[in-house]
């Protein structure tokens, strides 16, 4: 698999590690238990486009939001997590 890193270019997936779903908003400290349980444990796990966090750990060390189709592995978009959150 190849991941086009916005900083380093097209790279093999051996340079990356994957955390899991992206776009999960970390609840406020005072949010209720259900919100925290949801954030830490529950996942959509879609068959299709999936936004997920990849870390270019053997590259520029950027955390990236990779949008990828979980059925075909086609990479639809890659954005630095930092930029996306800003």
């Amino acid at each position: 698999m190849r991941i086009p890193c916005p900083f380093c270019g097209d790279r093999g997936n051996e340079e990356f590690t994957v955390l899991g779903a992206a776009g999960l908003a970390r609840p406020a400290p005072e949010a209720d238990d259900a919100a925290w349980h949801d954030y830490v444990h529950l996942r959509d796990n879609p068959a299709g486009a999936h936004r997920e966090l990849w870390h270019h750990v053997f590259g520029c060390r950027a955390w990236l939001v990779v949008e990828r189709d979980t059925r075909t592995h086609a990479v639809l978009s890659v954005t630095p997590a930092k930029e996306r959150a800003a």
Partner: protein, 1006 residues
Amino acid sequence: MNAPLDPRTPADLALSRPAPAQPCRLPAGGLVDRGRGLSFTFDGRRLSGLAGDTLASALLANGIHLVGRSFKYHRPRGILSAGTEEPNALVELRSGARREPNTRATMAELFEGLEARSQNRWPSLGLDLGAVNGVFAPILAAGFYYKTFMWPPSFWEKLYEPLIRRAAGLGRAPEGADPDHYERMHAFCDVLVVGGGPAGLMAALAAGRAGARVILAEEDRELGGRLLAEAEEVDGMPGPAWVQSVEAELAAMPRVRLLRRTSAFAVLDHGVVGAVERVADHLPVPPAHLPRQRYWKIVARRIVLAAGAIERPVVFGGNDRPGVMLGGAVRAYLNRYAVRPGQSAVVFTAGDDGWRTVADLARAGASVEAVVDARSEIPAQQARLAARLGARLVAGGRITGTAGWHRIAAVEIGDDRGCTEGRGADLLAMGGGWTPAIHLSCHRGGKPRWDDALAAFLPGTTPPGMSVAGAAAGRFTTAAVLADGAREGAAAARDCGFAATEPQVPRAEDTPDARVALFHVPASRGKAFVDFQHDVTAKDVALAHREGFRSVEHVKRYTTLGMATDQGKTANVTGLAILAEIAGRSIPGTGTTVFRPPWTPVAIGTIAGHHRGKAFRPTRRTPTHAWAAANGATFVEVGPWLRAQWYARPGETEWQQSVAREVAAVRNAAGICDVSTLGKIEVTGPGAAALLDLVYANTISTLAVGRVRYGVMLREDGFVMDDGTVARIAEDRFFVTTTTANAGKVLQHMEFCHQVLRPDLDVSMISVTDAWAQVSIAGPRAREVVAGLVDPGPDLSNAALPHMAWRAVGVDGVPARLYRLSFSGELAYELGVPPDLGEAVMRRAVELGATPYGTEALAVLRIEKGHPAGGELNGQTTARDLGLGRMVSTKKDCIGRRLAERPALTDPARPVLVGLKPVDARTPLRAGAHLFMPGAEPVTANDQGYVTSACVSPTLGHPIALGLLSRGAERVGERVRVLDPVRGGDTEAEVCAPCFVDPEGVRTRG
């Protein structure tokens, strides 16, 4: 009299005798080098061949057809094909540690001294007692083993299975470690062409001329594909000559790389292709400078699949006898290898294709006894050819049986009126048509589509970036194949942005192959094999269907069709056709064949490459490694690191003696230990303190510059992730240490917390683990040792540099950092210096009276102090479990705070960290033992915890341990039973506080 010692193996001896002539070698022609004879042995028999031969062609040149035995019935088997699809002719190649079982004789290039043995037979290839299985074939039908061997139950492992295992398997694994080496290559190209036949050559030419970076991968040792095997002309010259001209042009293109002997075995996502180049398999032993094989990882923008096609055997009774060969293979042996595989031949065909075999056989001087053509109408030209050759022509004919044992002796021919006749023959050339080699187009989930006109599966949806050309795309005339290759090669180059034009297509044979679909002769006598190697017959397919196994996948799995080393290359489509016939459905209505990698079996060691033995994973050495090695250290693997475990001194015979001495030195004088493996991270920026407050459970932002704080971090699920220290170097700069094991994970986590959770913070961080040699200097005399190590000047007094403070110092004029930190509970420092000063610091510290100590003493010291480490930081413990509960700040947000409040994590009955002392001071405690109330039945329900770390304390003179014990904090003074059944341990211990030495911390602060 003693026989003289002869170092020669039997194979050597065989090679020393003169080889007989090759009786079936044609006097002229072929692409073999008649000037270079080669000797080889087969089952110890000395034979000769020519350079350019495969083992298969050389055996046939010697008139040898019987090469192997089948898997189940041990039927005599010969050489079916001339290529990668070979199911029958498997041998053990080479010997000893280089033995390669299950090697296809059709793919093994002949070399001087080649040694091959037949396999899976006893006592010999000619007389194999396993052949008795054939008699019991009705019982040994598909899936028989699911229905029996169940009584009595205990007999399966004791009797049935050992027998089956001994009988199963094919060749024998090599003996010992592989003496050869392998390498891994990465390559990037615009256009990867898989297959160097006419289509692939044209594709490479088109893309190469356009200036694209091209890689052409060909499985054979030579480019050319079928053009090497057929007697046909291209552009007015013999096929091989045309190939040479193209090859010369390609070789002159600097951006084109030709990889011969290279099988592309897997197509993966995003244009990644795995390939294996057999660099030295054609040599007796790889030269020192060359790997045996090379694993290529090719990243291609476009892939042109030009893998050709594989001829399909016809399923009829006795179709497996040695001497029954694929027609295309017969032509390859005749034309490429100048070998006549039979003297009196019968050709069984379903179309024009077989008539080429007839012509080539006749030209080579073989007698064509009969041509059995499944078509009822035979073109006049072909009928005339038969008549001219005096061959019996049976239109609408079928082969309905064969006779012979080690080699075919006669065939039975049936015509369309139901009459049968016998014919003597020592060669039966058969072919039911060609199956496009679309395998690589399926590796990414592409589904093939059935083409009724061609009676073949063609690529359906191809993966993005791949096109298919030539015979693989269902083009079956040379002219069409050449044109297709030119078109697809140019298109691929254009896709990559090159202005490619299609090269002119050379003149070539362009008569479409008129044929009928022929898979199976139902009315034939004897076992009719679909999958040769696994002995799957048409009856087995029918039986599977009868028993409800109707999906193609079910049939495959139940009968094992297509699961042999040839991966069903000659069997899958025929099996499907027979299943469709039985089910009364169309082939596409019955199912499709899907192909998974690898295209061809790949040596495990080729992909492993250099990552084996000591080089399996990189080894990290600390800056003081060489010094430690020179000073008697024994090293231990700690993750990727090698660390000094203890330093044995003369006279110390047991490691415990060394450790006890080292611990005593730290407790009574001073010791020095390399702790450079701890993860070290520099966190800088105005947002650094805020980030660390989020990452650590305790508050870091309140730490004063010049001070150090112990920190614990949680995972978001509330369990402890890691611990370490944080030194505030400046208002906006922190130096963080982590455990050795979690160094990478913690940095990654901090980057996550920053980039994903708090991108608003202006902070950056970098690993400085390798930038510092860090040593711990501990013991009552540590201060004087440190004073002697650092450049004069700094005030090291307790007041100036108290516990949990740090200051900048110099060592040899080089800036260094001195942290007052203690893991051992003694007055202790960690000194960080640039790595190249590490050894000097060790050496000087020892000169100043410090005793070097290793990880064992380090562990003992920390257990004596009750500090949690690996055994306790196991991902299953909370801060409270470890006695660190009060460190989790409730005044601020931090990772893991909320989920640490979940009921199960705050349950007062959870096991918490305690100290344990054996009641009988001589009995050691061991980590991993479980804890029980004395007298309680030792079962899971009564399990109260376990020992996490244990040692013999030299300071206290008896064993001690740390453990996690349910409600442990309330149980100090109680006794627990320490049960270690896997090591036969059963003792009692007294629960105590986890800190055994100086619980008030007086020494640390001294």
